[in-house]
């Protein structure tokens, strides 16, 4: 095969490729796509799935942040109430112990009745703080002995 024939064949091939590129660009410009294996569709589906996952994770983070903030607000309210109750109760205890008759012994019958009732309550709920069976967190079931303290 002569070099002249080879050059002519190369020119035809280059012309054909150029024509294909131009035709593809023209059809692409008109909105026509040739994607027989669906690569573009799959790429689009992957991108949409990724975006949906990102949105779901962002929503979850936002809900968590909102839930944590609400919980902090509830805890603040609880601590405020707990502190206020402690203050007013401490004042009432001081007054009770400094009353003129604070050290007057209770009548034996009354003291026995009240202490019997205390014992019944502690028998029903021995893990209450103040009863002999008081333990750690509620429902733990441990039986660490803790003496009763009427001031608590």
């Amino acid at each position: 095969m002569s070099p002249r024939v080879l050059m002519r064949a190369a020119a035809w091939i280059a012309g054909g490729v150029t024509a294909l590129v131009l035709l593809s660009a023209l059809l692409g410009g008109l909105g026509l796509r040739w994607d027989p294996l669906g690569f573009d569709r799959r790429r689009l589906e992957r991108a949409e799935a990724g975006a949906a996952l990102g949105r779901a994770e962002a929503d979850a983070r936002r809900l968590e942040a909102q839930g944590a903030a609400d919980q902090m607000r509830r805890l603040d309210q609880f601590h405020q109430r707990e502190a206020t109750v402690g203050q007013v109760t401490a004042a009432a205890l001081d007054q009770a112990r400094s009353a003129a008759d604070a050290h007057q012994p209770l009548e034996t019958d009354r003291a026995d009745r009240l202490r019997r009732h205390d014992g019944e309550l502690c028998g029903i709920a021995p893990d209450l703080d103040g009863c002999a069976g008081a333990a750690g967190p509620a429902g733990s079931g441990d039986a660490a002995v803790r003496p009763g303290d009427p001031a608590r």
């Binding site: 779901a56 929503d59 979850a60 809900l63 968590e64 839930g67 944590a68 609400d70 919980q71 509830r74 805890l75 609880f78 601590h79 109430r81 707990e82 109750v85 402690g86 007013v88 109760t89 009432a92 205890l93 009770a96 112990r97 009353a99 008759d101 604070a102 050290h103 007057q104 012994p105 209770l106 003291a111 009240l114 202490r115 205390d118 309550l121 502690c122 709920a125 893990d127 209450l128 703080d129 103040g130 009863c131 008081a134 333990a135 967190p137 509620a138 009763g148 303290d149 009427p150 001031a151 608590r152």
Partner: protein, 66 residues
């Protein structure tokens, strides 16, 4: 999605009891202490319930967002 249950909500309630050989002041003190204990315990109960309900609401909303 879980909220942390505050330690305060896990504590048992307190019950003031009379000491041996109680005096009038002990009775009055126990009466006052029990009142405070009821209010404090109710606040802890309320906190526990609110935490549970808030956690359920968050889980429902998270499921709705899926």
């Amino acid at each position: 999605m879980r909220l942390v249950l505050p330690e305060a909500a896990t504590r048992p309630c307190a019950l003031a009891t009379l000491p041996a050989d109680p005096a009038v002041g002990d009775l009055e003190a126990a009466y006052a202490a029990r009142g405070g204990q009821i209010v404090a315990c109710d606040a802890a109960r309320r906190l526990a319930v609110q935490t549970l309900l808030a956690e359920r609401a968050l889980q429902d909303r998270a499921r709705g967002a899926d």
